[in-house]
Assembly symmetry: D2
Homo-oligomer: 315 residues x 4
């Protein structure tokens, strides 16, 4: 229900992975009930069906590789709305049942993508160990806890949950890598603007309209709307139809975003509004200063001027 904070949360399981860790950083989740689901579709179906108030699902650059699924699920079916983003640094640990020297490790369990992300570190520090693919970071931690493997590549939260000893921290090769999650609810009034928000859209473009994407970007650009992410995906339903997922700087309540959204509504085959929400703190940089003529004040001044010339013929 709009205005009422969610209390029943679902997240992409299993427990002990980055999704749970991300959900725990959401304030309301402290006092809520948290349930793991097996897949992104199950998470979102729980919200759609009313069994949960909000779902925490990976959106971008996820370890589990389910990002495409999230986008496809948000773009189709009953409408849903992102109310919050959570951005986590990808920080893997190497953990084992007990403290042991790295050169004593012979087998390491890792989700395939976790293995890839720590490849250089593992080659350098555990050259004698074989890396075994497992289904999730949590599965890796469990495997180490149960002694099936000497060690696991997993999330901090997974090591804690399964009482593993952390042999090494920050073992991902790329220290800047992030995972981005979305907290998703049924549609309602968007959270109020904070001055540094993002708006996520699914924009459908017909294949036969040359320059359609250029037209979309032009509508954003002329109104000073910045784009922080764009991803194209084919839509299964009809060959030759594309959907673009856009993360735009700004809030649906802003004058400029309102104008831009109306323009996309007019020129695109379809637009689905997927939410306006505060940008996560972790983005080091402040939002770029608007170019001349594109600030909030410029938009307000122009609206006042138009009212004057419409009324009296002179501004």
């Amino acid at each position: 229900m709009p205005g009422v904070p969610p209390t029943r949360f679902v997240f992409l399981g299993p427990e002990g992975t980055f999704s749970e860790q991300a959900l725990k950083s959401v304030p309301a989740a402290d006092r809520g009930v948290l349930t793991a689901a097996r897949s992104v579709p199950e998470c979102l179906d729980a919200v759609r069906g009313g069994d949960a108030d909000a779902a925490l699902v990976p959106l971008e650059n996820s370890i589990g590789g389910q990002v495409g699924v999230t986008l496809d699920e948000l773009a189709g079916g009953e409408p849903l709305m992102i109310t919050r983003e959570v951005v986590l640094p990808v920080q893997f640990v190497l953990a084992a049942r007990d403290a042991r020297p790295l050169d004593a490790i012979r087998s390491i369990a890792a989700h395939p993508q976790a293995g890839i992300q720590c490849r250089d570190w593992l080659r350098t520090h555990t050259p004698g160990a074989s890396v075994v693919d497992v289904l999730s970071n949590a599965t890796a931690a469990i495997g180490a806890a149960e002694g099936e493997f000497d060690a696991a590549v997993c999330a901090q939260i997974g090591a804690e949950r399964y009482r593993l000893h952390i042999l090494a921290k920050d073992i991902a090769d790329n220290p800047d890598a992030m995972t981005r999650f979305a907290l998703v609810s049924r549609p309602g009034p968007p959270p109020p603007p904070t001055g540094d928000d993002l708006t996520t859209l699914a924009v459908y473009i017909s294949h036969d309209r040359v320059g359609a994407l250029l037209a979309v970007l032009t509508e954003l650009s002329v109104r000073g709307i910045n784009l922080t992410r764009i991803e194209s995906r084919p839509t299964g339903e009809r060959l030759g139809r594309y959907v673009f997922f856009l993360d735009c700087g700004g809030h649906v309540a802003d004058l400029q975003m309102g104008e831009a959204l109306q323009a996309l509504r007019r020129i695109c085959a379809d637009v689905r509004f997927l939410g306006s929400y505060p940008r996560a703190d972790i983005h080091a940089e402040p939002p770029p200063r608007p170019a001349p003529g594109l600030s909030d004040a410029d938009f307000a001044d122009a609206a006042a001027w138009l009212r004057r010339i419409r009324g009296s013929g002179t501004g």
Copy 2:
């Protein structure tokens, strides 16, 4: 005074030229007082100073070559507003005091530009005559009436006023040439939209902003605003500042024009609104059908959709 039809008119003199002919086609001028002024600045000063309610001045492709003056005068000084355009075909006549064969004509008075516009016709039909430059089409007619010249190139109205006999009609080499005039008043509420209007703007651009004109045209184009005329003029006041005169399809009261005007207000050094007024009938072609997404209905639908997603998160 807004709403009250003008009764005191001034036009670019002298009497007996195309300007007077154009003014006489304006319905309200039938019942009004018509005065000739010596120059475009005097015409417009009469309106600015309250000595006249409206001025009829040439705007484009004029015989008298004073178009640039009109534009410069409208762009500077006290604001004025175009409330009507009048488009006249450029139809010169060859006239003389009495009927006479063309090959008996030895001297023809003509305004220099009138002479140029009828050059081929005169070469062919009066090869033995010398063409003498005079200061206006009316001066030419007077010269023929007074016997100073054998004949005059002039406007139909000039031949009538000075009781000349018309030796030949439609002698301009280009039968499609038009002259366009503007009826100009002090600012007030623009005339209501008719569904086929023009809006005239003076848009100032700073020299140092590369691509500024491209930006202006993009703002118009994305909102489906068509451009029927564009002219650049340097502004004397500061080197490197340009003013563009734009005639745009649409009315200041339209949603799309309103959005576009606000955008120009934001991104340009300055914008002067010079009026929204009905397109003159003489334009043979109807306004082009708006491209997909750019019709009035599309704009209305998009505005309604935005209200829905702002309110409930879903459209």
Copy 3:
């Protein structure tokens, strides 16, 4: 070596998955040696290091979810080049050790994404079965072959390799879904144009350049280059730097593509050319007819005209 067909191929393993099936559709692979690798980076490192001549790796919408890895690997490290794309319909089968009625199946092994893609079918036809996540489509087939599970969701080639009985074909919920693979070699002269080619680029954009993506698309659009795919990815190396992966219609040898590539080279932080190669037959639609002024003939005519005016001042 350029011109010499590759003979040693590596593909994303394990054997019996869609990657192997895709590789087998490449003519030269018939007479070559095919080796499975554990991950996309290992595939590409084999080519970079000279241990293989070509690698077949998933590029888009892959079952294994490794697409991002492929893109990141192609964008960084030693340059590689795509010489061929292979597009396979995503056609899952349900297979078991022997023929059995669907309602007798209690457990089904499936890669998590395969399970998601067949979710509706499984719910409808095997409502009593539990779906168990396994690490790959091949693992699923092996699990069924060894009796660990009653059935497997897998690729046709996996069912054949492990001598499974196919209980149902075409069980993916979305019959139009495709997986797209790339055959990747060390750089060399691109394959000759066929008249229907794609060119893949990795385009780097600095975060602080507003409108940079718009600029990129404009350069393509003005030269009539169509875009069939675009994907943005953050680059780990420096915050605020983005890389876009573009699939463009046309070949590096084309006049228009040559102009466009030069333009991207000029305006982007960096551009990596990732290959020009024939578009796979499976795309039902022919390439769109170029807009007026954008055909090959138009480009050739314009080049000839320029030579004339440069030489003699008139075209």
Copy 4:
């Protein structure tokens, strides 16, 4: 004949006006034969017909208001080429047969536009005098020399030719006003690039192509071609066809201008190249520094890179 400096010059008469003054600033005119013609068409016909090697005609902001004629004449008929621009400050003098106090002047002869341009000065300094329209600045000077009028508003050269005494200099109200002239020849190899050149084009656009002008400007903008002037004119020959006159920064021999010209040739109904020639010194400002990616060096680097990737697949 290309390469041979012109020796027979024609200019827009009568003698003693700004056109003659402008022509005398052209070095080759020192040793040439200078002839006045009655109109711009006569000037250009003299060149087309071989009776003159070059014509000096007003191009912009001219006193005589014949600019439109020049443009129309250049756009139609046998091709001609601008080889040089001459920019003169509009500097009027008030001159009389002999020295006399300003308050003794009762009548002043002036071309109508000269009168307008000096209106404020005349109102202030000769409030008791009546201004009489005459056909040219030279006619005004002659009228003063012959005693028909007490004084004349004319060009410095006119005062000198008719041995008038200059009563006041620099009497134009706008001290920044300029007149721009073109030296026009039959087509030939353009003069070599100087690093600061202009290229003039007549670009034809079909009325029914929405956004055509935007497309033209985009082609210029993406190649860093700056626009210093744009003017639209309807073409008489067919209703609904427009011609735009563009002055662009750069030379036809430049890489970037060559690309841009080819693009216009492709997308426009027609393009007429009207010449590349050095920018006149009088423009105070140096040409703007090219934006990143748009310098000559950037274009050369990109061409070299394209050759590398076409040859070896990697840059």
